[in-house]
Symmetry: C3
Subunit: 138 residues, 3 copies
């Protein structure tokens, strides 16, 4: 068994921009020749999250509206006093959703459902470049 | 070190039916003879989730009521327009909770607490058959 | 590839006490000599959670207030009837946040962002001793 690292680089618009990174993960496991093992997909940084979602425009809109209602942008977060920043909501949303998912690979394929994609949610309040880590153990 | 895959098949009633899958995971690691490593428990599909919980009827009722209040079934989700579906809330609940947990195995045992079980929460709006992936690296 | 287990012992004050456990994880991977692999950080018990967060006092205050508002301590949870307990909110908060994170290790370092720490959130209603499992595969 071995560990191989790959990366997916994306440019996000921030403000809960959601990006389907499943094709990048599939490329990584194909390139490494993973047949059986796991892949951990991890986003460095504390204002972005990774989860799985049926990636269709209705649902991404629903998730965006839900997160805004749950943890609104316009609120007097203590974090804003610390750095004179405006992204307290981004941090809380990311902490709730979590920075990673780990997915089994069986017979060379991710064990995702047919309508299940791996999605980066960039909660920050400005455009960001993200370099997502794809760590494969196989 | 090697990777071995097992499966747990369950029939759920949907509507946040919660099923304790800890015995199935324990069976899988016993059958494979795992002594030291990790197990990733992953549910394919975007309307179910896996988390850990003290699996007792009071708490499963509390979690059910909390999720219904947080992300109610009766709401005009954009997802319903996409597929003329009724399970927008199911998707959002599953995305928040996440599709998997990874648990260490030490001396042949899961490192769960005494009152901590691994639970499938089926958020879909109808009964479903689920085949949960148990991926062991050891 | 091998699996090595280490532990981080902390004393928490409960009530969503948040403790930065990143130094303990860094010590564990240095001691084991992990160069490339993953580390799964898992808290046994169903009233504590692990996530990543920019660990600064403003944000930990924001997260504390958000969790209290989302899942308040003072509420008639069914769990309280089961055990004549007072920590129903603790269980729900922990189930939402999740008991673990898995982080890649590349070139001997965790792939965390500069302002991203691994944090234990002890949601229980009383002081607790926690022994967090650090499982390394490398």
């Amino acid at each position: 068994m071995q560990a191989t690292t790959d990366y997916i680089s994306v440019s996000s618009k921030g403000n809960r921009d959601m990006i389907d990174i499943t094709p990048g993960i599939r490329n990584a496991i194909a390139k490494a020749g993973v047949r059986s093992g796991i892949v951990t997909v991890f986003v460095p940084g504390s204002t972005a999250a990774i989860t799985t979602l049926e990636f269709e425009p209705g649902l991404t809109k629903d998730l965006d509206e839900f997160l805004e209602k749950l943890i609104p942008y316009n609120y007097d977060y203590s974090h804003h006093q610390t750095w004179h920043d405006d992204n307290g909501s981004s941090h809380l949303q990311a902490a709730m959703l979590g920075p990673s998912v780990t997915i089994p690979v069986v017979n060379g394929a991710l064990t995702l459902g047919t309508w299940q994609q791996v999605v980066l949610i960039d909660c920050d309040t400005r455009p960001r470049s993200r370099k997502i880590v794809v760590q494969m153990l196989y």
